[in-house]
Amino acid sequence: MADSAAGLYNGANYNVAAVPGLIGNAMNFNMDLGAKVSIPAAFLSSVNNTITISLWQYGSARQPLNTSIFEGTSSGVRVLNTHVPWADNMNVFWDAGNNGGYGRINTGVTSASQYKGQWNHWVFVKDAVAGVMQIYLNGEAWYGGAWGLTRPMTGVDTFRLESMANGGNCYDGIVDEFRVANVVQSPDWIKASFLNQASNGVFNTYGTINKQMFGTLLWLQQQSRMALT
């Protein structure tokens, strides 16, 4: 799975299939096949106090299940993790931090459409300086706040997408446009990303096609000279 950012941290796919996605292709993960992607953890080397992780998710009809969307660990200890949701308690979890434990926020889903049967845009944010953790769903702040969650997110040495870092609890569904930033993206940035990708023809207005006359004149000039010679 090719990384488009400058670091070029390409992921190693394991039993992942390409399917039509919301934007171009997407990744189809079949839990029976243990599908997952291992990404070199060095891509997180500049992540310390702030992070924004975003993705599009389309859970399969099998959901809810006890699966992870991603997990990053340091010497086997959890630093980053999400469940959308964890089936046993139907909570969405966002875990982030690495200092004698991780910070956690979690809350229950309110409808099946939040985790399966449609594309949903999930964004997970942490600002360890301000003690803020936040979850955005489809462009809107969904759960979180400034709750003194100040553990930084350093030292991740293993990172997997669509499973836990040890390769277990594989996800079942489709994921598109997975991004990680080492800053806290603003609510405006997150909503614009959602609208631009989900409703491109509404967010963007495409004008009429202009044919430049100067190019036409040049072409006519060339044709006339050819006719004279």
Partner: protein, 233 residues
């Protein structure tokens, strides 16, 4: 007679070229007086303005990656207008003032110009068709696909008898009727509701710029961007 007419046209065009050169000279003088120099788009015969009135935020976003979707459904747009329709090497974007080429990355480039196939009979001489996603894929009670019915009508069905290897049916992903899209990410220096960028194409001599592959579309705060499985995977 014909030669005389052509000569007149040529003289008229020479005058038009002279006028164009005057415009270029005037532009250079403006630049010397402190105005920002413009990029040269004169070799690109086609252009299209793109605006973002759907942006509802109150802040201006810096270096925001905007998704631009090109399809044959865009009025007046055709891949045949491009000099490099296979790789979009002549596609470019500028800011509204035309002062800079914008970074961009092509995620998906799909030049299929026909309509989506919805019936096997549309494929002349079809001998076997198993991969249609919205028909001929019966599932068991768990939603797993057990066999694929040959949609060509030749009865060459395929089966997967091992339960653990039967793929699970996904919904809402049929290609039938969906327009074929090309998806391009463009880094917009300053995004507000009033922002305009301009797309250009059709330059005979343009080749893909290095910025389309080196990650420059994504500012340094992005430590990873995985579009999912594309042609480079």
């Amino acid at each position: 007679m014909k030669t005389g007419l052509v000569s007149q046209v040529s003289r008229s065009l020479d005058r038009a070229s002279a006028a164009a050169r005057l415009f270029v000279l005037a532009g250079m003088m403006l630049a010397l007086n402190g105005a920002q120099a413009a990029v040269d788009t004169s070799a690109y015969p086609y252009s299209m303005d793109i605006t973002f009135s759907g942006y509802t935020g109150s802040t201006t976003l810096t270096n925001f990656p905007v998704l631009v979707v090109l399809t044959n459904g865009l009025s007046g747009f055709s891949y045949s207008q491009m000099e490099s329709p296979d790789n979009a090497g002549d596609l470019r974007f500028t800011d509204e003032a035309g002062t800079a080429w914008l970074n961009y990355e092509i995620e998906t480039w799909n030049t299929f110009s026909g309509s989506a196939i919805s019936a096997p009979t549309e494929l002349s001489g079809s001998a076997l068709w198993l991969l249609r996603t919205d028909a001929g894929v019966p599932t068991n009670e768990s939603g797993d696909v057990t066999n694929w019915v040959d949609q060509s009508g030749n009865g060459k069905d395929a089966f997967q008898e091992a339960p653990l290897r039967q793929p699970h049916q996904k919904y809402g992903l049929s290609l039938g009727g969906e327009p074929w899209k090309s998806c391009v990410w463009v880094q917009v220096p300053q995004l507000a509701a009033s922002t305009k960028i301009v797309a250009y194409w059709g330059n005979l001599e343009a080749t893909p710029p290095p910025g389309t592959l080196n990650g420059s579309t994504w500012d340094s705060s992005y430590v990873g961007v995985w579009h999912a499985l594309g042609k480079t995977d």
